[in-house]
């Protein structure tokens, strides 16, 4: 699975640490998601979609490998 978290973060102008604080996870988790090393749970994806006020499908995408 891929995502454009980094782009969304840039649009909203918040750092990894701020996003982490907003959704109640560690900064490492945000970093791992942006590096496509970690696929978040549905709960976390929905929280992120709330923060960016976008649909989950507009932030996370399936990869050909999935």
């Amino acid at each position: 699975m891929k995502n454009n978290l980094k782009v969304e973060r840039a649009i909203k102008n918040i750092t990894q640490a701020q996003l982490a604080e907003l959704i109640g996870v560690s900064r490492q988790t945000i970093n791992a998601m942006e590096l496509n090393k970690y696929v978040p749970s549905t709960v976390l994806a929905l929280k992120i979609s709330n923060i960016f006020e976008k649909r989950v499908n507009d932030i996370f995408f399936l990869d050909p490998d999935d």
């Binding site: 109640g24 996870v25 490492q28 988790t29 970093n31 970690y38 978040p40 749970s41």
Partner: protein
């Protein structure tokens, strides 16, 4: 994040202390063939060689034993469990995934080591392998989990 089966973070330091002291005592004991330090105390063996259910002398009675190895074992296990299964300061679903994967990894490594030992180690040395094997699964997990957490923290610095 809601977690199951984990202890609060505040017990972690206490766990490290107990675990560390237990390891030191264990190492001293194994260097001295489990004879020193000799902390003699009365114990009540339910199962033993001389007393207990399966022994010839069926009488239930107190007997003397060096309890240093018992204390070291209990400290390593209790301390190790606390170190391994206390929440991190920032426990979340990613660290939970790392935790699970590290536990699977530690189980594999522990039994690979045991399988190799079964094949190539015999007699008294094998008994020693069994002694260490009581603790190695915890030890492998603690090393692997903390190394992986350390790696994810280091990864952040490349991203700055």
């Amino acid at each position: 994040m809601k977690t199951r089966y984990l202890f609060p973070h505040r017990y972690k330091l206490f766990g490290w202390i107990i675990f560390g002291l237990g390891m030191v005592l264990g190492v001293i004991l194994s260097l001295n063939e489990f004879e020193y330090p000799n902390w003699s105390a009365n114990v009540f063996p339910l199962i033993g060689e001389k007393e207990g259910f399966f022994a010839q002398n069926k009488s239930r009675t107190w007997s003397e034993n060096n309890i240093a190895d018992e204390i070291a074992s209990l400290m390593i296990i209790v301390g190790g469990i606390l170190v391994a299964f206390c929440k991190l300061k920032d426990e979340d679903e990613y660290s939970a995934t790392i935790r699970t994967e590290s536990l699977i990894w530690a189980t594999y490594v522990n039994y690979i080591v045991l399988i190799l030992s079964i094949i190539i180690v015999y007699d008294m040395p094998f008994f020693h392998v069994l002694i260490y094997n009581m603790f190695t699964i915890l030890l492998f997990f603690i090393l692997r989990f903390h190394y992986m957490i350390f790696k994810t923290k280091k990864m952040i610095h490349y991203e700055e």
